[in-house]
């Protein structure tokens, strides 16, 4: 009985998807003026930009212009203007967005010799704005949860709802990742590791919402996170850790080799963290966008092929979205777990007597 019901629901759902798919080509063709460029679309979505572009309705782009903040080393002064001033190749006070070359897509100016140079650029780009929004949301969420505990003591009931969910996740990170790997000084590291986990997880999840920015899939973001881990590992490391690096417990002729290898390891560990997170999230977004491009590419070949491919593509998109939800958690977990493991290794507690 239940099977039949769910079967019916499924069929209804598929019917709707198919109907939607048949209407789609009309819509797509109505807006289709210029050639669809998949790689441009994908990299446009993955990368950063000076404006927050959502979609195009016909030929009109729906985008929020964002502030550009640059310090011109040529002229020696700061400039603040809207990204609207430099859109579509326009020039504003000597600044324009480079179309090609090393600085393609970035705000550049020309120096005295006419060479293209990049000013010091701390523009609030799409990623920077989304980053701030997500960070403020995260702060608000956690502080809101923390507020719940204000007038409570141990004997009061465990929280329910959002606070309960957050407490479950926090205690998961705190007990299973942090305490399990770090034997001493837990409180010195708990703040950072919890921040890292929830920052990554939160940004991963929000990154999956269409129209949002790809923050954790940006190498600048993961670079900073990896640097924090690097500092946390090495700043508080104890003597035994450094001894194990430079004077490992191996035959004497191995010692210099091991010292070099271990010393390189100090840097490769955070670099691996940086690349892993960035690559996973970026690749997930790229794969999703590539799948969506399939619809447009097949329709540009023939509408029959497009109609045939679309249900399959939509199915794969749903599948990939679910997978990305999983990846969003796993990558946050892995980053935090490895950071905790590295920190735990940096404060060994007398392995040998």
């Amino acid at each position: 009985m239940r099977n039949m019901k769910s079967d019916k629901t499924l069929r209804l759902f598929l019917g709707w998807v198919l109907m939607f798919c048949f209407f789609l080509p009309i819509q797509a063709r109505a807006g289709e003026k210029k050639e669809f460029n998949a790689s441009e679309m994908i990299f446009g979505h993955i990368g950063d930009s000076y404006e927050w572009h959502f979609t195009d309705i016909g030929d009109t782009p729906v985008a929020i212009p964002l502030p550009i903040i640059v310090y011109s080393q040529v002229r020696g002064e700061w400039f603040l203007f809207s990204s609207k001033m430099v859109e579509e190749g326009e020039e504003y006070q000597g600044f324009y967005i480079a179309e090609e070359g090393d600085y393609s897509g970035k705000v550049v100016e020309k120096d005295d010799s006419g060479k293209e140079v990049r000013p010091l650029d701390i523009s609030l780009t799409k990623n920077a704005v989304a980053l701030w929004i997500n960070c403020l949301l995260l702060i608000a969420l956690i502080l809101w949860c923390a507020r719940w505990y204000k007038n409570k003591d141990v004997s009061s009931e465990a929280p329910k709802g959002i606070v309960g969910l957050m407490e479950m996740m926090i205690s998961m990170v705190y007990n299973d990742i942090i305490k399990a790997n770090i034997p001493v000084h837990v409180h010195r590291y708990a703040g950072y590791l919890l921040c890292a986990f929830f920052f990554i997880f939160f940004n991963n999840l929000i990154g999956l919402i269409p129209g949002s920015a790809n923050i954790t899939g940006n190498i600048a973001v993961t670079l900073v996170l990896a640097c924090f881990t690097f500092l946390m590992v090495n700043l508080f490391a104890n003597g035994e850790y450094w001894k194990e690096i430079f004077w490992a417990d191996v035959p004497w002729w191995m010692k210099p080799v091991m010292a070099i290898v271990e010393f390189l390891g100090v840097f490769t560990k955070p670099i691996a963290l940086m690349i892993r997170l960035f690559a996973n999230i970026m690749a997930g977004h790229a794969a999703l966008l590539a799948l969506i491009s399939v619809i447009f590419i097949t329709f540009s070949i023939s509408s029959v092929l497009g109609s045939a491919m679309t249900p399959l593509t939509v199915f794969f998109c749903i599948f990939l979205d679910c997978l990305e939800l999983l990846v969003a958690f796993i990558q946050a977990y892995v980053f935090t777990m490895l950071s905790a493991v590295f920190i735990g290794m940096s404060i060994p507690q007398h392995h040998h007597e």
């Binding site: 990299f43 980053l131 995260l138 502080l143 957050m166 926090i170 409180h187 996170l225």
Partner: protein, 166 residues
Amino acid sequence: MFLLTPDSGLIFWMLLAFGVVFFVLAKWGWPVITQMIDSRKLYIDESLQSAREANEKLAKVQEETALMLKQAQEQQSKILAEAMEMRNQIVEKAKTEATTEGQKLLKEAKEQIEKEKESAIRDIRRQVGLLSVEIAEKVLRQNLKTDKDQMAMVDRMLDEIIVDNK
């Protein structure tokens, strides 16, 4: 590859944003929650421990109660048995006492009766003696009415005495 080149502007904003998140949450966010998680864990552990102890105590108490109950029952049956025995003893004693008392009484009564009897017999004897003396007197008076009779009597008696003294 522009994807692999970290943009300095974004690094700056990321440092700032993550620094703010780190600072705010490490100061006002996580400690509150993790402390509560820790203390609640401790509290739960302690509660479990005390519950276990209470259970053990309860079991011990129950055991003790059962033991006490058993002991009380034993005591009760013992007391009952003792009481029964004592009753029997008392009854027995009372019986024997009653018997001896009865016998004593009986004996005393017999003795009394004997005494009475003896005194009565003595009385009767005295009476009989008196009566016989009186009767003898009367008989004698009858027999010794005449002097002849009296002389005969004296003679006879004297003969008898002489005979007796020979």
